[in-house]
Every structure is written in C-alpha cells, then in structure tokens.
Amino acid sequence: MPDIAIPNRDMIFKTLADPTRRAIFEGLCRKGDQTVAVLTARAGISQPGVSKHLAVLKQAGLVSDRHHGRQTHYSAQLGALAPLIDWTNQMRTFWEGRFDDLEDLLDRMDQ
C-alpha cells in the first residue's frame, strides 16, 4: 500500500464540491476498480470530461490509477477521507449509549 499524503479538509471539500466529480468518486467507492470507459458510460458527460475530473481527484489523493494493457483503471483511496470522518462523534455516541444503559442498570439495582 503506497503511503499517500492525506489532503487537508479544505482540499477535500473543494475537490468534492463538483457534483459530477463527486458522483465519479462515489462510484469508485461503491463499485471498486473502474476503467475510464465504464465511468464515462455512467457519468453522463464526455470521456475527456471524465478524465479531467479523474485528474483532479488523483491530484487530491482521492483516487489512484494503474495501467493494464491499454486501459487505465482507477480506484478510490478511502484513507484520504480520514480528515472528514467524524469518528469522535461516533465514539461519543457509543459512550452516551453505554451511560444510558448504565443508568438503567443502576435504577434496577438494589441499593
């Protein structure tokens, strides 16, 4: 696994602000490795347009490419989203739920 620098939040937001580019990125996240031809068929814009969006995504570190024969395959670099994932909120939600269960238990316990 190559060590790709994680972009900061602002760059991620700017890169993903374009709805077409975001749709391309989401497609790669959900469906994995894709060729430009497959992405073009789904995107509803021209192949040069798709390639341009992929170049921006690659520059931001959100996708990587590999060449296989005459085709280029793209895949999402999910780790690059790390700065956006609000893990602290998930963890706080987990613990708040545990504290709820704890209070329920305490209410049921004999003194």
């Binding site: 996240c29 959900r30 987990f94 613990w95 504290f99 238990l105």
Partner: protein
C-alpha cells in the same frame, strides 16, 4: 500540500448520575453488571489483570487493568487489533467518580485516537455506504 498531525485525540463523556459512587463502582467493576451496560467480559478489578470485552458485532477488545482506586478511578487499556492500520486501535479508558450533592459525576475519558482512526470502538459493522451518506450530508450542508 497536507498537514499530518501525529498527536492523539481523546473522547470525553461526562454525566451527573443520581446514584452514590459506591453503587456506580459496583456497576463498573462486577463482571455480570458490566455485561449489562457495556459488554460481555472477564473483568476483575486487579491492576495488571488482562481481560476481553466482547461486542455484539463479534469483535473482541483486548484490555488490561491499569488503575484501581475504589469508588474514585478505574482505568484500563482498550485495544482492537486489525490488519488495516486505520482500524487498529490502542487506547486507554479512564472512569473518574466524583461525589455530588445529588449523586455522582461520572466522567469517561478514552485517549489514544489517531487522526486517521476509523471505527474507533473496533466495530467494522458500519460500512462505507454509511460514511458516504454522512459525507453527502456534510457536503450538501456546505453548498
């Protein structure tokens, strides 16, 4: 181009609970009670004791007791081994109990999260579609 922080982060949850410290301490330290509010376990309130927490999601957390100050402080490691560094977790959970006029202030501090941490409590249950849905919400909110 990127700013990479290596400092670890902490999650803190604090709550006023209308029960005395000694009662809460029992719930924090007796295995059958811990199973009711936290997870199945083989806990024992002895410094150095190694135990597991077993989540409903099938995951197992590896823990070791670090601090036992009855009715005041309980601390243990909370680790989840995973091949993907983003899911691998080495953290410390500390419970602090402070008496109040109406009961106890209970504080939970979990320290050791890295900036690239994912699925912080070790559960791989939530997948990427959920994260993407959240991303969509965030981006929609900013456009």
């Amino acid at each position: 181009m990127s700013e990479t922080s290596t400092a670890t982060r902490t999650v803190i949850v604090e709550r006023e609970i209308a029960h005395p410290p000694e009662k809460i301490w029992r719930a924090l330290t007796q295995p059958h009670l811990i199973s009711e509010w936290l997870m199945k376990n083989d806990f024992s309130p002895v410094v150095g004791h190694r135990f597991n927490l077993r989540g409903e999601w099938g995951g197992v957390l590896d823990c070791e007791v670090l601090v036992v100050e009855p009715q005041t402080t309980l601390s243990y490691t909370w680790n989840f081994k995973h091949d993907d560094p983003a899911f691998d977790l080495n953290s410390v959970v500390t419970f602090s109990l402070s008496p109040t006029t109406t009961g106890t202030r209970l504080r939970m501090e979990q320290a050791g999260f890295r900036p690239d941490q994912r699925q912080a409590y070790g559960g791989a249950k939530a997948g990427w579609p959920e994260h993407l849905a959240k991303l969509e919400q965030v981006l929609t909110g900013t456009e």
